[in-house]
Symmetry: C2
Subunit: 485 residues, 2 copies
Amino acid sequence: MINWRLDLRLLAFIELFIGILMLIPTTLAYRYQEADALRGFLIAYLAIAVFCSTSLILTGKPKTKTMYARDGYLVVTLTWIIATAFSAIPLVASGAYVDYSSAYFEVMSGFTTTSATVLPEIESLPKAILFWRSQTNWLGGMGIVVLFVALLPALGVSGSLLVGAESVGPTKDKLTPKIKNTALILWSIYIGFSFIETLLLLLGGLNLYDAVTVTFSTMAAAGFCVKNSSIGTFGSAYVDIVVTLFMLVSGANFALYYKALSGKLSSVLKDGELRVYLGIWAVVSLLAALKLFTSNTYDTFAQSLRYSTFQTASILTTTGFATANYIHWPAFTQVLLFLLFFIGGSAGSAGGGVKVIRIVALFKMGRAQIKHRIHPRGVFQVRVGQTTFREDLLVSIATFFGVYILTGVVGAVVISLSGADPLTSFSASFLFLGNIGIGFGEVGPAGNFAFLPSWIKWFCSFLMLVGRLELFTVYVLFSKHFWKH
Amino acid sequence: MINWRLDLRLLAFIELFIGILMLIPTTLAYRYQEADALRGFLIAYLAIAVFCSTSLILTGKPKTKTMYARDGYLVVTLTWIIATAFSAIPLVASGAYVDYSSAYFEVMSGFTTTSATVLPEIESLPKAILFWRSQTNWLGGMGIVVLFVALLPALGVSGSLLVGAESVGPTKDKLTPKIKNTALILWSIYIGFSFIETLLLLLGGLNLYDAVTVTFSTMAAAGFCVKNSSIGTFGSAYVDIVVTLFMLVSGANFALYYKALSGKLSSVLKDGELRVYLGIWAVVSLLAALKLFTSNTYDTFAQSLRYSTFQTASILTTTGFATANYIHWPAFTQVLLFLLFFIGGSAGSAGGGVKVIRIVALFKMGRAQIKHRIHPRGVFQVRVGQTTFREDLLVSIATFFGVYILTGVVGAVVISLSGADPLTSFSASFLFLGNIGIGFGEVGPAGNFAFLPSWIKWFCSFLMLVGRLELFTVYVLFSKHFWKH
Ligand SMILES: [K+]
Ligand SMILES: [K+]
């Protein structure tokens, strides 16, 4: 069953909420006297006002407040689709973007924290528009719906359904019995880290505008930047290190920060996923640095390490910032970075991709298969950290991985219809699905997606959404069972 | 427990058996008066004689004839490693190959039916050597150990363990209660089809040598060819069609032919895997043909279809023959072919890769996940054809896929140490693992693997073996549990 009235009402409220958040860039447009941008935002307000009032009037008071699993998937998916639809209006109505499909692609890329861009040139755009673009990163990072649940009066079980459909990873940590409190805690930690990063960047000599926009995209593991050459523009080792650090923060499970703040630091340090996550970062950074140094790509080992730690963190956490155009790096370092495309951030983080814990589980499932072959009558359990994973969870994790890869491969076929070569098509599909934002071939750090035909931009927006909502929240809508009574 | 004496004895017998099979190319070397080749084979015989006599004398009569699961994995893996070691001797001792690592790579590529080659120029080699190279394809296609089991006096339960460790696919069809009879039936069907294909190729104007060697590599879904430009050399639509047909035959489950011969044709036509397998071939061929035609790559639609059906069958069945250098085809057709890298032939076929049935199962597992989200309390079973797959089989299938992809991605990182670009490294790793033999970038149909450093050739030989024996038969040997009492 689907409670259409309640769902539409929720969507209208969330849209209103997006409108309120748009007041920040609108103020900037006013302050910077960017008339085009201001016009863009005003047109967006008009559209939002029409949509919300129509929806609220049409639906009236819902007969029942009961929500079902299906409502959760529907509201979350539609929230992302509709929020993008309205948030894209200022981009195109200000004249900054050439057409609506480009603007939609860009904002979906923002909200899903993919941050693939259609812009060949960024710095010439109105500052208010670029700010809004970065702000979509930040809003999407911890989840639009989660933020809404955190701020709205208690939604009861509906809140859990909504948060469950939007949050990432195979296991959901319950920080508190009440979902509203959990959402509030997660967003508070997120805001707290954002403040600290902004401060550190200001100390590094960035102006407030740059510091805030960079922070937006770092903390969300997102990757938009108001500069043409991404973080490389600042040319500062200090900035590189701060951003590397906060990318790593954003790619870890936020529940761990709550545990650490609650005084359970020792259990945090024992966390299996966190150790593997940091281990992968350390090993890949080191291997890449060795190759960069021995191939004379950089003069010193310290410099090699500076670029490799940054780029490894950027791809592993699925942020997609760049301080170097790594497609000119030696092949080995490129393929190392490509390896990270199949891993991603941690469960419960701002990062995308498959998630470290699923890779760990797959690895352990492989080990269990080996033991089973040696002792065919034995029963072998899969333990990750202190938890034994039930067989249905294992099926769900391994299925996720399989469907993820198959989606990516089919996505590559569709993208290749644009004429993009195999490496470009393949890495593009997986950079959308993993919400990474930069890839290889024509879509490396210096590339952009302006070359895609409109209809492929819409398809890529779909891939980004499917990736951000971890496949099934979107895929359920394509099942006939979903629409059956 | 491992029955070392019995295992070593079996290995010695299998090696003797390889020696006997080598008599065919030796006779050819004598007939064609190829002194270098003859010398190569004689040196190989010497080495085999020393190995076998030493092993048989050292082991004496085994105390017990009991074999355990571990013995099966050990004997099968070692059979492939040692058979390759001795079979590679003629290649290097005849002076045809530059070093032993190249010869080992080539023969492993032959037995595993990968058929990636290190030769930039093929036709100048002694005909006896090329024949032996094609013969390794044919022997590997249905399984060396299976052939041995078929021909040797009953091995009892040991035979089942050996065949189980070598055969491909998640489910094993038991054609007859006795494994020896099953092995005999499979090999008889294989030989029968080989006769028919040879006849048809002779009718197409090929000489006996060409017809037999092409048949060897077609029926094994293998892909070596005695010509520089693979099947394209013959330039005959008739040959293309015959080879396409028999590639499709080799990539289907051989148990189905037994069923058909037993009069159960209707159950064959209802087989879920067969339908999907042929369906993928038909759809991909058609899409590729449309693109080839509309992009003016070929003048007529019929011609486009001739090349697309051939190349699609070649990659899907993991044969790796070529009638066109498809890396010059439009991007879309290339990426379509790349999609097939993630599918492969059928279970119980001569083909490699993931296998169609595992992809079907993954797809249905995805659907079950969707249903589960819509009805969280429901229990959903996965049915493929008429069989309901148990949860432990599903875990094993999905784990296989996950470990397969991760192996391929890590393999790409190792191969990139040769300096190969990302597309070349990535497709090389998966063409080895899937026993496909041709890929993209530098390793397309016109490419070869001479550029790989020796140690990476050994690593690639390992990848081919891991792929052919479906990961776990080899991976178990790396577990400490395997070697514990
Ligand atoms: K990103
Ligand atoms: K092959």
